[in-house]
Amino acid sequence: MENGQSLEWVFWLGTLMMSFLAVSVIFLAVFYQRKVFEITQRETAVSIKAALKAEEKERNRVAADLHDGISGNLSAILNLVRLLEVTEKKEAVVELTKEIKKALETSLNGVQRISYNLDASFIRKTGLASGIKRFFSPNTKLVRYSRTRRLSSAGTPSVPF
């Protein structure tokens, strides 16, 4: 009888302990979810940081392009226009107008190039290879233009590129 009673005690105590252990899986699951949440938060913070850094770099690049290219050309155009205001000789006015037109074309090409480079949807639609080709195509036009000019002014074919 006593053995039976002590056995019952052992049984219920053991069962309670094992049941408590079994329920601990819920606590494990909660702990795991918290860990996943923390990892996700950290990954999101890193992604946002990287995106902000890339954006800042891009803005700096655009600012440099504008300053180095367009800004210089516009300053040159302004000087030419000032010179045009004080010039009286017809031949000098014609020459200055040509220079202003050329500078404006260069500035326009520069703006178009900056605009092309900023357009990300082109790469998304057509792929990286097309994007790289397009990136270099405005410069290719400039190279072709200066090559044509050299042939015309020399009259005969010059040193080939």
Binding site: L7, V10, F11, T15, A22, V23, V25, Y32, Q33, V36
Partner: protein, 211 residues
């Protein structure tokens, strides 16, 4: 009260397999848990038809069920865990075979409880070890983003909760049967735990990806 709970737990065994066949349209029978779901449904059908209606001796089914139970649970865990834990499974495979053969020396047509105890002990230890390894792998890899939506979590938890809460019952069952006349009060633990296991299995099947 006991009868009501018993029959609810019994017929709940059909639910996971039924849910599985109803919700999955393609790629049937490929999940690691499927054999165990099938065994659970088979056990329900045998209990109802073989034991209740035909009054067959349960001793034979108890011994066969122990073997099938080990095989299906073993398959589930070995499919769910990494290859690096293979050594643990090889050890348990050998241990179970030895203990299963040993259990026959305590098996008889009149009383298969002690044989069942021996087999259940090994299966319980397998479940405890595999559950620990599963959670270890879970915390190492952090592959599952939402555990509450993972079917495997419910299967693993269900099996662990069942075998943990009935561990003492099966170890002491043959002694309790001899020393007490209220054995069915203790057996209620198994009934409730079985119901809980089958509910979690059903929930896990419901959470499975529909193909």
């Amino acid at each position: 009260m006991y009868s009501i709970l018993y029959y609810i737990a019994l017929y709940a065994g059909l639910l996971p397999a039924l849910l599985y066949f109803v919700s999955k349209k393609q790629k049937l029978c490929t999940e690691a848990i499927f054999p165990f779901l099938l065994l659970t449904a088979l056990a329900t059908l045998y209990e109802q038809i073989g034991t209740e209606w035909l009054q067959l001796n349960t001793s034979y089914w108890t011994q066969v069920y122990s073997l099938l139970e080990f095989v299906t649970i073993f398959y589930f865990y070995i499919s769910s865990l990494d290859k690096k834990y293979k050594i643990y499974f090889n050890v348990y495979r050998i241990v179970f075979i030895l203990f299963y053969i040993y259990s026959f020396s305590y098996w008889s047509e009149q009383n298969a409880l002690l044989a069942k105890t021996i087999n259940k002990t090994v299966i319980s230890l397998l479940v405890f070890t595999a559950t620990f390894l599963w959670f270890k792998q879970l915390f190492e890899k952090v592959e599952i983003k939402n555990l509450w939506q993972s079917a495997d979590f419910y299967f693993v938890s269900g099996l662990f909760i069942y075998y943990a809460s009935t561990f003492c019952l099966f170890i002491l069952s043959s002694f309790l049967l001899e020393t007490t006349s209220y054995f069915y009060d203790y057996w209620m633990i198994n009934v409730v735990a079985t119901l809980f296991l089958r509910a979690l299995l059903s929930f896990g099947v419901w959470k499975m990806d529909k193909v």
